[in-house]
Assembly symmetry: C2
Homo-oligomer: 330 residues x 2
């Protein structure tokens, strides 16, 4: 492969840039509460598993896009498009594989077990027969049943915790909090970073307080780069965790090359490369010394690419745990 | 009042700018279908009303924020924050006042009669008692009943039509389409423009096709101003319609002055001035030669500012119709 030089993008962010980002970010609300809930979730699930390796694993799935406020009293913001479908679907398969899931999602995006619901499902699918009996439209019957019963089973069973975010500031602070807590379970922790994270932002301290006025002609905006947090997640926050990041491009010619770079520079264990237009059909998993194409099973109605993708990832996570724990591996 | 000079913002957009915007916009899907549905809606409601003045009125309520794509294969976009709560609430009161409503809303925002539903209401509020009977959690019972029964009554009764948009391109093309159709009912038409419309955009033809790369350091973006369409709505698309626009600011010192300017320069009949932090408590309605403060009724639990606001607007619309039609007015 020809030597490719992307010095800026793959530069590991210096510590001072990362500190500056967190120092200037508006603090998240209820941090102490969230931390206590997470702590309880992690220890209950990890300890309850006993010697059951699969059940002791906890994955943090990030999902949806982060937004970047352009004004402190936020009217305008830059957003990254993501329906959250990938994260929601993957969460379902991780739960089926026995993992507990910390689902860190953008408010308003797709929820696990709810992928097939129409917009505004409550008013589109339900009606009252009489004063007390609700009926589901037969067109939605199956998706409504699945959403309600499977979602509730996961939450009631204590294996799914959901934490919402909106801005890049909330997302990165939450990710750091989760990572520092998951650190204690070593290689049983996984990060599956499917969220579409903003590359550019306006530092809070340089942000205008009031709405930007439209009076002065064209708008000229300068945005700083968000420091890449993947390397610090690997090196400091949770060094033993198994880490999978995503690379989405619209131009397939640069996709694999960029995924490969991300793998090496950030020390990811796997990078899932997906192209905007075909991402529901296939992805390429880039791991050290291999590239694996994962396709959805076209012979099955409703089959999705997340099913074989999570199977592959769980298998590799098992090998990773074996290697690190020196378990007797198959 | 001191003379204030805002030559840029309140300049009426030259026709060539408006033409250029529409010429370069990606065309909306299903335009012919939407036009046919709208035509049917308008004529059915207007004609069925006969001599009933109130029932012959049709208001187009716009709601939620428009988004501006930064890339053609859209990954990133600039968004205007708006929950759509104002538009949804106002739609309910217009329906109660006998109007038919064309609800032009941003996908994913608040729907009429659904304002009090929690996020993800379907999975949060419902459960199956047994295989076939759905039960509503008692905490949500009232809001779920209201959402389903009142929303369905409005849609089934034929007085509410809902049309979604996402981008500024879709929004303005839909608005033009609706306005040119509502033109035929003269002063019985109203525009209640509560949507948060982008002031800046990237013209489609100058937009990058692929995802902007984050490799090259800080991002410098230049955005063009969206031509102000309010004046062309008044002068060409639907010259007889009663028009209400909104002005949202975070800085109350400039709010009323800007609302007043908008009234005069765009020929609005009323401008609703609202400040970000207090907008659910009170608004100021700016009309020619008057400013009316409208507050929610604090003595009533659950009372909102949209109730008295729509009462005031309906009253003024009545006067306007009387004046134009030379009806015998009270």
């Amino acid at each position: 492969m020809a030597e490719v030089n992307h010095p800026e993008e793959y530069r590991v962010a210096p510590n001072f840039q990362i500190r500056a980002f967190f120092d200037s970010a508006p603090p998240i609300l209820d941090a102490a509460d969230t931390k206590a809930k997470l702590n309880e979730f992690i220890h209950r699930n990890y300890l309850a598993a006993g010697n059951d390796d699969k059940a002791s694993r906890i994955v943090c799935v990030t999902s949806g896009g982060t937004s970047v406020p352009l004004e402190r009293r936020c009217v305008r913001y830059i957003d990254n498009f993501s329906s959250g479908h990938r994260g929601a679907a993957s969460t379902e398969y991780f739960l089926k594989s026995g993992y507990s899931v910390i689902f860190l999602y953008r408010r308003g995006t797709c929820q696990p077990f709810c992928r097939d619901l129409p917009d505004n499902a409550l008013i589109e699918c339900l009606k009252y027969n009489d004063a007390s009996s609700l009926q589901v439209d037969h067109k939605c019957a199956e998706v409504v049943r699945r959403a309600i019963t499977e979602h509730q089973a996961a939450v009631a069973g204590g294996s799914l915790i959901k934490l919402p975010f909106t801005t890049i500031f909330e997302y990165l602070q939450m990710l750091k909090l989760i990572a520092e807590l998951l650190r204690s379970i070593g290689p049983s922790a996984m990060f599956y970073l499917a969220a579409a994270v903003s590359d550019f932002y306006v530092p809070w301290e340089s942000m205008t307080v009031h709405k930007i006025q439209s009076g002065a002609g064209p708008l000229d905006m300068q945005l700083a780069q968000v420091p890449k947090m993947l390397s610090v997640l690997r090196s400091e926050w949770a060094p033993m965790a198994f880490c999978i990041s995503f690379k989405l491009e619209t131009d397939k010619d640069i996709l694999l090359e960029k995924a490969d770079m991300a793998l090496r520079k950030y020390g990811m264990h796997m990078v899932v490369a997906n192209e905007l237009l075909t991402r529901k059909e296939e992805v390429t998993v880039v791991a050290p010394n291999e590239k694996i194409i994962v396709k959805r099973d076209e012979s099955q109605v409703g089959a999705d690419v997340e099913n074989p993708l999570i199977n592959l990832i769980v298998e590799r996570h098992s090998e990773y745990i074996c290697r690190l724990n020196q378990f007797a591996c198959k």
